[in-house]
């Protein structure tokens, strides 16, 4: 077991926390961005038999460079299967996906997530990306992990638009009544802590708080009266090994920091990143016995 890292960033803590939600042997549906880094961390640390499905048609890739998207050339690297979106999402609808991971702009206490628009749907103040595969994951994955920033405005009583269904209105059996096959949200990992949902009320409660975050600040950034677990604990920090993997794959912190600005127009830096991960990742895979 690797030592806890002394130096880590908030996104690295979030990614490591999500990685710990993934269990060895599971099949996961992973969207692009931080969830993808979290999945790589899980696979290269505690869960070598954990496999990911990538939306546009790849299963079980084991890449040695940073995947750039859910339809990326990197997603094919050493995959077990490549092909179509309907293989992956169809399998998910039929119940073959153990865990999915999504992100979003707003969330309510029943875990309904918005990634479509802020304001009126027809005249939005801010138009966002749209569902992509998030709705499909939230509808059908056996359990869903939600990963998002908590900025004081986006944990709301009612989201502007339900892109991805959580426990809907929180009434008993609401998901089943709506016809949704998946189990619904399991955990929400944010920049402040980790939340879960009560099995009777389906309401979100705070389970873990990140090191250095104050409980009053968490409560102030949630727009409803937040329930807190009586057994509230501090989130486990990332290990040195977890941080090493994240920094090897994403040295400029494209997903985990300000890498987008660094790489804008800098082809040499981008190519260096794509070249340099080859040996460290190949060695790591050999050590872990992963093809």
């Amino acid at each position: 077991m690797s030592e806890y890292a002394k130096d880590y960033s908030m996104p690295e803590l979030m990614a490591a926390t999500v990685a710990r939600e993934f269990r060895d042997g599971e099949l996961a549906f992973i969207g692009v961005g931080m969830p993808l880094i979290a999945a790589m961390v899980a696979k290269f640390t505690h869960a070598p038999n954990f496999n990911i499905m990538v939306e546009f048609g790849a299963v079980g890739p084991s890449p040695r460079r940073l995947p750039l998207c859910v339809d990326c050339a990197v997603d094919n690297e050493r995959a077990y299967y490549t092909g179509t979106l309907r293989e992956v999402v169809g399998a998910q609808q039929a119940g073959f996906v153990d865990v999915g991971c999504i992100s979003g702009a707003e969330i309510d206490k029943y875990g309904n997530v918005n990634s479509t628009c802020i304001g009126d749907y027809y005249k939005p103040q801010v138009r966002l990306a749209g569902s992509g595969g998030a709705n499909d994951i939230a509808s059908s994955a056996t359990r869903t992990i939600i990963m998002m920033r908590q900025d004081g405005r986006n944990f709301v009583e009612k989201v502007h638009y339900i892109t991805s269904p959580g426990y809907l209105d929180g009434s008993p059996g609401a998901r089943e009544k709506a016809g949704l096959p998946g189990g619904g949200p399991q955990a929400v990992v944010t920049t402040m802590g980790v939340y879960r949902f009560d099995k009777d009320t389906c309401e979100m409660y705070l389970e873990k708080i990140h090191p250095g975050i104050k409980i009053d600040d968490v409560k102030a950034s949630v727009k409803w009266n937040l329930a807190v677990s009586p057994n509230l604990v501090e989130t486990e920090p990332p290990t040195e090994e977890q941080v090493m993997i994240m920094r090897t794959l994403d040295p400029y912190q494209v997903y985990l920091g300000t890498g987008r600005q660094t790489l804008t127009g800098d082809f040499e830096a981008f190519m260096k990143m794509m070249e340099d991960s080859y040996w460290p990742m190949s060695e790591l895979m050999k050590k872990k016995g992963i093809l």
Partner: protein, 318 residues
């Protein structure tokens, strides 16, 4: 008694004839004003999208149908070509926020755009239905969400067999489907390598199909591994040879995403003026895809290719 034979009817199959042409020819022949255009995301048909923008004065308006799209549909939106977009996702992925899309939806710049939202699976099942000659497909995605509430073309009914709710999405049959693939022969048998999202069903659902490819191969090469034939010739109208034809996006096993370029394009897309300057230089300022590649630099494109080859080659584990 006078017998009359049943009159002959024409099927939809395209003939196994020579179909290789330039992007300019293919776009002028098949993409008309007001075209209902479907486009693939893996791989993105950049070479054809650039050509559509070059012919925008003739084409005037388009209705787009996509599943997810990163950047490429916004090249059409920012050029003022798009009246409506049927979509699951139109954003920048790793490149971040799509300012072109936001400007069009929030401010009507360069013009108002109508949106019809689906989930990825919902959008994919529309092409699946269209590909099989059905008018709808059932899915369990989108149920209970506002995707259904705001989209009249997703109907929720009780499944007649189980009695449980199911969401029916209307079939989508684009006038023209455009896509970028790995290899094709001259009559339009097309191979995709690696993941290809919904490219196969888009081709089957579309009335006309234009495919750009990295390589042209012989029919004998296609017959050598017929199960790699993702799109048989009878769906295809035009084959365009466009090496690096998905740049700045990726083409599996050929080259990967040029992130530094994509981020830089997105920086310029932050304003409409910046977007137009980018279009003037890279799209309208070049005659064809080869000129665009020269402008980007073939040395750069080959380096993307070499990096991809270092990590993976189709048919090998590296």
């Amino acid at each position: 008694m006078q017998y009359q034979p049943v009159p002959l009817q024409e099927g939809r199959a395209k003939q196994p004839t020579y179909k290789i042409m330039t992007a300019k020819e293919a776009v002028s022949r098949f993409i008309k004003e007001g075209c209902y255009l479907g486009m693939s995301v893996s791989a993105a048909p950049s070479a054809l999208i650039w050509e559509i923008v070059r012919q925008k004065d003739r084409i005037k308006t388009l209705d787009l149908v996509i599943t997810s799209q990163i950047g490429m549909s916004s090249v059409l939106i920012g050029s003022g070509l798009v009246n409506k977009i049927e979509m699951a996702y139109n954003w920048g992925g790793i490149e971040g926020e799509d300012r072109v899309f936001r400007r069009a939806v929030e401010k009507g710049i360069p013009k108002n755009i109508e949106i019809e939202d689906y989930s990825n699976f919902g959008a994919a099942m529309r092409w699946q239905a269209g590909a099989m000659g059905l008018s709808f497909m059932p899915t369990k995605s989108q149920l209970g969400s506002d995707v259904v509430k705001y989209n009249p073309r997703i109907k929720v009914i009780d499944d007649p067999y189980t009695g449980k709710p199911v969401a029916l999405v209307l079939a989508s049959n684009p006038d023209v489907g455009i896509m970028h693939c790995a290899r094709a022969d001259e009559i339009g048998n097309v191979q995709c390598f690696g993941l290809y999202g919904n490219t196969d069903v888009l081709a089957r659902a579309s009335r006309h199909v234009i495919v750009t490819v990295e390589e042209i191969v012989s029919q004998a090469e296609i017959r050598r591994m017929p199960n790699l034939n993702t799109i048989p010739y009878y769906y295809v109208d035009a084959v365009v040879h466009a090496p690096f034809g998905a740049h700045w996006r990726e083409s599996n096993y050929y080259y990967h995403h040029d992130l530094a370029y994509g981020l830089d394009a997105y920086r310029q897309f932050a304003t409409q003026e910046g977007f137009e300057a980018w279009i003037d230089k890279y799209v309208l300022g070049t005659q064809d895809w080869n000129e665009y590649c020269k402008l980007v630099g073939y040395d750069r494109l080959y380096r993307l290719m070499l990096n991809e080859r270092r990590y993976q080659q189709f048919g090998e584990v590296r």
